[in-house]
C-alpha cells in the first residue's frame, strides 16, 4: 500500500515538473512563463518530498523533507515576485494578447514614479523632498 502511494506521488510529482517545463517552453511571454514554472514546479517538489518522507519514515528525515517543503513554499513566490518585477522594469515585452496592464499608465520608467491612480490635479505633480536622493 505504502509502495503504491509512494509510486503515485513520485510519478505525479515528476509529471508536474514536466508540465512546468512544457509551460516554460510553450507560453508566449515572461509573466505567463513564470506563472507556469513557479506553481507547477513547487507542487512537484512537494509531492516528491512527501514520497521521500514516506519512504524513510524516520523522525529526522521527515522533519528534513518537511523543511524542504516549507522552504520551497516560502521562497517560490518571493523569487517569482522579484523576477517578475525586475522583468517588467527591464522592459520585457508583454504578450500581444494581453488584456490589461494596469501598471503602464501609472508608472513612469524614467523617474521610477508610481501613481496610485486616484490623484487630483494638484498632487499629481512631483513634489521633491529635501532628502530625496536625486
Amino acid at each position: 500500500m505504502i509502495e503504491a502511494i509512494k509510486g503515485g506521488l513520485l510519478i505525479t510529482g515528476s509529471l508536474f515538473m514536466l508540465l512546468a517545463a512544457v509551460g516554460l517552453l510553450r507560453l508566449p511571454d515572461l509573466l505567463t512563463r513564470m506563472h507556469a514554472t513557479t506553481k507547477a514546479a513547487a507542487l512537484g517538489v512537494i509531492l516528491i518530498m512527501l514520497a521521500a518522507a514516506m519512504h524513510f519514515a524516520e523522525v529526522g528525515v521527515v522533519a528534513r523533507s518537511f523543511a524542504i517543503i516549507v522552504f520551497i513554499l516560502m521562497t517560490a513566490p518571493v523569487a517569482a515576485h522579484v523576477i517578475g518585477r525586475a522583468g517588467y522594469f527591464v522592459g520585457s515585452r508583454l504578450w500581444s494578447g494581453t488584456v490589461k496592464d494596469e501598471l503602464r499608465p501609472n508608472y513612469d520608467p524614467l523617474t521610477h514614479e508610481l501613481k496610485s491612480g486616484l490623484e487630483t490635479h494638484e498632487n499629481a505633480k512631483r513634489q521633491p523632498r529635501a532628502n530625496d536622493p536625486d
Binding site: A21, L25, L30, M34, I72, V82, I83
Partner: protein
C-alpha cells in the same frame, strides 16, 4: 519500485532538457533566469528521488542547499537586472 524511480528520473531529465532549450533560446535575460530557477527546482526533485533510490537520507540535506542556492541566485540576478535599468536584448 525501481521501475517507478527510473520512470520519474527519466521524466525529470526530459523536463531539464526542455528547460535548457528555453535557456538557450530565451529572448531576454529574465526568461533565462526563470529557466535557471526551474532548473534548480527540478534538480531538487531529482536529488530527492536519488535519496529514495540509494537509501541515503543525507541527500535531502544536499537538496536543501540546492534550493537555497537557486533562491539566492534568482534574487541576485533580479537585483542585477533592476540596477541596470531598461535594456533591449
Amino acid at each position: 519500485m525501481d521501475t517507478v524511480l527510473l520512470i520519474s528520473q527519466v521524466i525529470m531529465g526530459f523536463a531539464l532538457i526542455l528547460a535548457f532549450v528555453r535557456v538557450v533560446r530565451g529572448p531576454s535575460l529574465p526568461d533565462r533566469v526563470v529557466a535557471l530557477e526551474l532548473f534548480s527546482t527540478t534538480v531538487v526533485g531529482l536529488v530527492g528521488v536519488y535519496a529514495i533510490q540509494s537509501g541515503v537520507a543525507s541527500f535531502l540535506d544536499a537538496a536543501i542547499v540546492i534550493a537555497l542556492m537557486g533562491f539566492l541566485a534568482a534574487i541576485g540576478f533580479a537585483r542585477f537586472l533592476e540596477r541596470g535599468g531598461p535594456r533591449d536584448d
